[in-house]
């Protein structure tokens, strides 16, 4: 399925340059479509707007709704959980334009949903695909709804409470999420640079979600509670040529502070950025010179342990994945695991690693 | 010459063997009166069969003229030759009986039917046919087929066919060539006897000098002067 899907997307999108085959959330040129409508590329000065930005951005090539959660079972065992829905546009469309008719089975955008549960050294992963604009998959801002098949995230009452339902092959979860706090805009008021040359994305997060619900693994049903982190990000070009992948961290420190940090690996060094969200304080964008991100393990494959340091805020952390294989083995494999934090602070969080040669 | 049963003047015939033309007949002339018999002798390839074929119109000479029963065929008269085939056909049908060494009978017809066919083509009464077979001593074989009788019996049947047409001229090409001596003798005996009785002309091509000597005249093609 995998290769065929890729080829098909490429063929339909009219992309033929080899570097554009980087993948779903990878590098892609900013190009106009046949009708002259261009893909929009975020830049410094772009601002967020709510609630619209919870909804889709059809004139951007790629975006996602991304939830990670560090939960605990009634027995106190840690359980990591992920739900992501991607949108990959093939043809750009202005936000206010009428979508094409469903009965023409349009293929202007493809959607992909990922769900994973990491528990007891086991990693459960599911992937769903759909085309947009026919109703099979989609998203709306008000009330918030993001769905593909029978997987859906929807606002339950107002926008303070959400419900997330996923039923994969042999396992499922059904969660309620209470949203606390305002959206955190990363980078320059939401424009998050991804290279020194100014490529970047629009990026905000809800960093304090209170979650409870049930996770069913086979015939085992677990009551879970914990906290979650919800990302919204969109762009038309994330990686620039020469960038090999990224390492991303979202950490809930026991102090109540939060840290988001990522680095984009380049052939000579890396581009680093992050956001320090102090408990009850204003978010602070971190520049490359304020951040140290380095793997603690050597060798091939995904580094399981990392050192993160933000000297300005007295942070020197060791971040490590629990034992187990946490690769999401879908169309575009990557690492997505819960992590435990030690060092100057203790805590939990999530780590995403991409571009390690798979 | 007028009144002759058959005459030939200045007959020439060449065949090509490979690239070399081979002359078999060189300015040959002959004449036959009714009741007469003429023996043609000569080694193989000397032209005996060719001459017989020319004398009954089955082959054309390269030059010369032939007269049979008042009909004249002259190579110098191309106009007349146009109708020659029909005239020859009529002659063979009614006047000229031809006997070959073998295979004178239609294999799918009984001896009697063969004789009847020949008589009918000649316009003769089919009633006599059985009589002819009787006269040649093979009456009881009338309803047998050629492959059911001996070679001598087949040649007798061939003679019956010839006589049933009441011919004026008989051309016989080695008629006993494939028979044993005794049978050959008796067949030839019958041929001469009937020829004499009916007063028709006979030209007999043969290797056999004894046989040749029984004819009135003798023409040796092998000893003709070659110019």
């Amino acid at each position: 399925m995998r290769r065929w899907f890729l080829l098909m997307l490429l063929a339909l999108a009219g992309c033929s340059e080899p570097e554009q085959q980087a993948g779903f959330a990878g590098l892609a040129g900013v190009a106009e479509n046949e009708s002259g409508v261009p893909f929009l590329q975020p830049g410094p000065g772009d601002r967020l707007s709510f609630p619209e930005d919870f909804g889709p951005h059809p004139q951007h090539r790629i975006e996602w709704w991304y939830l990670t959660a560090n939960l605990q079972t009634e027995g106190g065992e840690p359980l990591g959980l992920q739900w992501t829905q991607f949108r990959q546009a093939i043809t750009p469309r202005p936000t206010n334009a009428e979508p094409p008719e469903a009965n023409t089975w349009p293929l202007e955008a493809a959607w992909m949903a990922h769900a994973a549960v990491s528990f007891d050294s086991q990693h459960y992963f599911g992937e769903r695909l759909a085309r947009g604009d026919i109703g099979h998959a989609g998203a709306s801002a008000e009330p918030l709804t993001v769905w593909l098949d029978d997987w859906r995230l929807e606002a339950a009452s107002g926008n303070e409470s959400w419900r997330l339902q996923v039923a994969a092959d042999g396992w499922s979860y059904d969660l309620s999420l209470r949203v606390k706090g305002e959206p955190v805009a990363h980078g320059d008021n939401g424009f998050s640079a991804k290279s020194a040359d100014g490529e970047g994305s629009m990026y905000f997060s809800l960093v304090d979600l209170q979650i409870d619900g049930t996770v069913t693994l086979g015939d085992q049903t677990l009551e879970v509670t914990g906290k979650g982190w919800f990302d919204r990000e969109w762009s038309s070009q994330f990686l620039k040529a020469g960038q090999q992948g990224w390492d991303w961290f979202a950490l809930h420190l026991d102090s109540g502070d939060k840290l988001m940090a990522f680095r984009l690996r380049e052939s000579d060094g890396a581009f680093r950025a992050g956001t320090w969200i102090a408990d009850n304080g204003k978010p602070v964008a971190l520049g490359a010179d304020q951040l140290r991100i380095a793997p603690l393990t050597e060798g091939d494959g995904y580094p399981r342990a990392w050192q993160l340091a933000v000297p300005d805020f007295g942070l020197n952390l060791e971040v490590a994945a629990p034992a187990g294989d946490y690769r999401n083995t879908g169309l575009f494999p990557y690492w997505e695991s819960p992590v435990s934090v030690s060092g100057s602070h203790d805590g939990v969080g999530y780590m995403e690693l991409t571009g390690y040669g798979e | 010459m007028v009144g002759s049963l058959l005459w030939a003047r200045g007959l020439k015939k060449q065949f090509s063997s490979g690239n070399e033309p081979v002359s078999v007949l060189q300015d040959l002339s002959l004449q036959l009166e009714p009741g007469q018999s003429l023996a043609l002798t000569g080694r193989s390839g000397s032209g005996k069969s060719t001459l017989l074929n020319i004398l009954c119109g089955l082959e054309r000479p390269d030059a010369g003229s032939v007269g049979v029963l008042g009909e004249t065929f002259d190579t110098r008269n191309p106009e007349a030759l146009k109708k020659a085939e029909a005239r020859w056909g009529n002659l063979r049908r009614q006047q000229i009986g031809v006997v070959f060494q073998e295979a004178n009978l239609m294999p799918a017809l009984s001896l009697l039917d063969n004789v009847r066919l020949r008589a009918r083509l000649a316009g003769q009464d089919e009633q006599d046919c059985q009589d002819w077979l009787e006269r040649l001593g093979i009456g009881e074989l009338a309803n047998r087929y050629p492959d059911q009788v001996s070679g001598g019996q087949r040649q007798r049947a061939a003679l019956a066919m010839v006589f049933a047409m009441k011919p004026a001229l008989i051309l016989a090409d080695e008629p006993t060539g494939s028979l044993d001596r005794q049978t050959a003798e008796s067949v030839i005996e019958q041929l001469f006897e009937l020829q004499a009785r009916h007063g028709c002309g006979l030209i007999l091509a043969t290797h056999d000098p004894d046989l040749a000597s029984r004819c009135n005249r003798h023409l040796d093609l092998g000893h003709l002067p070659v110019p």
Binding site: M1, W105, R131, H136 | L91, R93, L117
Partner: protein, 756 residues
């Protein structure tokens, strides 16, 4: 010089004979391999395309409406794994199937073979459904929703039901039957060419009899000679069969394109390109055929011990023939039927020369004219001497006859089927959103239409039969029709009550199709109960109409009897406008319905296209039979030539006896033409019988339905003329041999032409 070389030296002296033998084997191999290759390819394609969706289920709406993208979305969002399958048929592109590869993920098998839409269909990859939808604009595209295996057992949301899914739905059996018939003809081709090979081989053998006798005298035993002969023919067969197979495959590839398009167009049966049929099967079969054909004599003593020597007696073959025909009538299965065909052909082939020979002998006895008697007797000899090529010609003619009748029957059935569906000149889809009422009123008020035109409306939907026991029976397709007029009243009906159309017009009953009648044992006059739009209705069955192989059950009703709750799936108008212009009709309909576009189909154009596709399909069959016929005729010509060269002396004897060459030639012509005409006459009953077997026996046994059988005397006449031409060409060819003087045959044995 080895012994084998000594034996083979015969062919050095008769290179033409060797060439003929080789050509026969090559041609026979080519013909049969070509046909075999095509049919096995087509069959493999059928199986493959069926296995592509083997055992698959689809989801349909219980209200009978066509499923749409909204249904797909509703089912998917309800958690059901369904995949859209949009099939578009167009004359330019053939069949195109669009699928949604993104949606196929949930079929989630790790085994590639279970997800056939990854492969190819019709030699083309499946396309994305958006592309198919684009193609489907203004054409007939049909959306199906395939359901994954794991979900096909589960519970469906209300309003949906499961139904089996097939790729080539309606005419698959017609295609199968066509292939089976092609197979049968392939076997006949094999039989005919075997006869021809045998005839040439036997000729050579007869001519070599003297050499064998000589070898025997030199101390070579007959066993050794036979072994050498086997080796010789094995060598020759191998040398000829291999290029023959190659040519056959080349032929199949060459014809494959057109054949594939045609099969697909006619039977929805795509032909996959590039399938590699084995070499081994054709090689083994052809080798066996050649060996048996040439070396049957070695087996003969055995056969004679078994059956006694019945060669010259007609009694035994007659018994066999009667047995074969009886078996063909009462054969319980296909295998027995094929045995019966083989028996009848063998018996007929054995009898034909004997019959001609007897007949000629009888006439010879009755005729007092010795020349006529000679001719009859000569015919008798000819019939026996040329028995093998004659029988081959007889078989070929019988086959041509049967194929013509079969093709014409298929064609006229197809025409009627088309005609039944395309009776009106134009076909207009009624848009789903409109009320057809005003348009119907307007149409019925047009005086031109009433005077010179015809029209009716068809509403399609679904109903469920109620069995006499009260249980729910199978679902059937509903065709509701009104007004009932000349567009339908000309239909051919299998069985009907008095004035069935009038009763239908009055809403006093319904008609059912052949399949429904057959499967549910429905008879005319019986009352059927159907659930229709939530109501149970009882209708007497007025008539059974032919469906030409459509497997779905159908009922035909007057639109006026439909209950108001009946969900009209798809509605259309069929209009022959007569003096009214079609522009006026469509203009008015657009105005009444307030739509900008109407889907209007020109049925005549569709009919022309379908006929063209049909002709293309049978091009192959016709070409094959024509080629066989030519082969048989040429073989007869050749054998006649060889035989006559041994017989020419006797024809020349006629000229010695005073017949002109023209007269002798005339005798020859009469002879040859009599022979070829008699064989054509004898081919006639065999051909009609074969037609009957193909149409009335093989089809019902294999598929449970049959086509009407018809005979075509006009074509018999054509075949008669052809046989005359064959006879004439034989005579003309032979009379050339009368020109040159012949020496008398040395001895009067049979091979030298002295046979009586």
């Amino acid at each position: 010089m080895t012994l084998l070389a000594a034996l083979f030296s015969h062919y050095r002296r008769h290179p033409l004979q060797l060439l003929a033998l080789a050509a026969m084997i090559v041609l026979a191999t080519m013909l049969w391999t070509g046909v075999h290759h095509l049919t096995s390819q087509a069959r493999a394609s059928l199986e493959q395309s069926e296995s592509a969706v083997a055992e698959r289920q689809q989801v349909r709406r219980t209200d009978g409406k066509q499923v749409t993208v909204e249904d797909f979305v509703e089912l998917r969002r309800g958690g059901l794994c369904v995949m859209p399958w949009l099939e578009v048929a167009s004359p330019e592109t053939g069949r195109v199937v669009g699928v949604d590869p993104l949606a196929a993920g949930c079929f989630g098998s790790t085994d590639q073979d279970d997800e056939p839409w990854r492969g190819e269909l019709d030699g083309r990859p499946f396309v994305d459904i958006s592309e198919a939808a684009e193609l489907a604009r203004g054409k007939t595209g049909e959306l199906s929703l395939l359901v994954s295996d794991s979900d096909s057992a589960g519970v469906l949301p209300a309003g949906y039901r499961l139904a089996p899914f097939r790729v080539g739905p309606d005419t698959g059996e017609l295609g199968d039957s066509f292939l089976l018939n092609l197979d049968a003809l392939g076997v006949l081709v094999l039989l005919i060419t075997a006869l021809l090979v045998r005839s040439v081989y036997l000729l050579g053998l007869a001519q070599r009899r003297d050499s064998f006798a000589l070898l025997h005298r030199f101390g070579v035993g007959p066993g050794r000679i036979n072994r050498l002969l086997v080796a010789e023919i094995l060598l020759l067969a191998l040398v000829c069969i291999v290029p023959g197979i190659w040519f056959g495959r080349w032929l199949a590839t060459g014809l494959g394109g057109g054949f594939g398009r045609a099969l697909e167009g006619l039977f929805d049966q795509p032909l996959y390109a590039g399938q590699d049929g084995g070499w081994l099967v054709p090689l083994a079969i052809m080798l066996a055929v050649v060996l048996v054909a040439c070396l049957a004599d070695l087996l003969r003593p055995m056969a004679r011990r078994l059956f006694g020597n019945g060669r010259r007696y007609g009694g035994f073959p007659v018994l066999v023939l009667v047995f074969g025909v009886a078996l063909s009538i009462w054969a319980p299965g296909l295998a027995w039927l094929f045995v019966a065909v083989a028996i009848v052909f063998v018996a007929a082939g054995t009898l034909a020369p004997i019959l001609i020979s007897r007949l000629a002998d009888g006439r010879a006895r009755a005729d007092s004219n010795p020349l006529a008697r000679w001719r009859h007797r000569e015919l008798s000899v000819l019939a026996r001497r040329l028995a093998l090529p004659l029988v081959a010609l007889q078989f070929a003619m019988a086959m041509v006859l049967a194929v013509q009748a079969l093709v014409t029957t298929f064609e006229s059935t197809f025409d009627r089927w088309l005609g039944q569906r395309l009776e009106a000149d134009f076909y207009i889809e009624i848009p789903e959103t409109v009320d057809p009422g005003p348009a119907l009123e307007w149409l019925s008020e047009q005086p031109e239409l009433a005077a010179s035109g015809m029209w009716h409306r068809v509403a399609r939907g679904e109903a469920t039969l109620v069995k006499t026991s009260g249980e729910t029976g199978p679902a059937v397709d509903v065709f509701a029709l009104g007004p009932v007029g000349p567009l339908v009243t000309g239909w051919q009906l299998f069985e009907s009550t008095d004035e069935p159309w009038r009763a239908l017009q009055q809403g006093k009953g319904m008609m059912v199709n052949e399949q429904l009648a057959r499967r549910q044992d429905v008879t005319v006059g019986q009352t059927l109960t159907v659930t229709l739009g939530g109501e149970e209705l009882n209708f007497p069955v007025l008539a059974i109409y032919p469906d030409y192989g459509r497997p779905a059950g159908e009922i035909l009703l007057n639109v006026s009897v439909l209950p108001p709750e009946f969900v009209r799936g798809f509605q259309s108008l069929s209009v022959s406008p007569g003096d009214l212009s079609m522009e006026a009709v469509t203009h008015q309909l657009k105005a009444l319905w307030q739509v900008e576009e109407l889907t209007v189909r020109d049925n005549r154009a569709i009919e022309d296209l379908a006929s063209a596709i049909f002709d293309q399909t049978f091009l192959l069959t016709r070409a094959m039979t024509a080629l066989t016929l030519i082969l048989a005729a040429v073989a007869l010509l050749m054998m006649g030539w060889v035989f006559f060269s041994t017989r020419a002396w006797y024809f020349r004897l006629l000229m010695v006896w005073g017949l002109s060459r023209r007269q002798a030639s005339a005798q020859l012509i009469r002879l040859a033409v009599s022979l070829s005409s008699i064989i054509a006459l004898l081919a006639l009953p065999l051909g009609v019988w074969l037609t009957w077997v193909l149409v009335h026996r093989i089809n019902p046994l294999a598929f449970g339905w049959s086509l009407p059988m018809a005979v075509y005397p006009g074509f018999w006449l054509e075949l008669g003329v052809l046989s005359l031409l064959i006879g004439l060409s034989i005579a003309l060819l032979m009379s050339r041999q009368l020109k040159s003087p012949k020496s008398a045959p040395v001895n009067a044995n049979a091979p030298a032409g002295g046979e009586r």
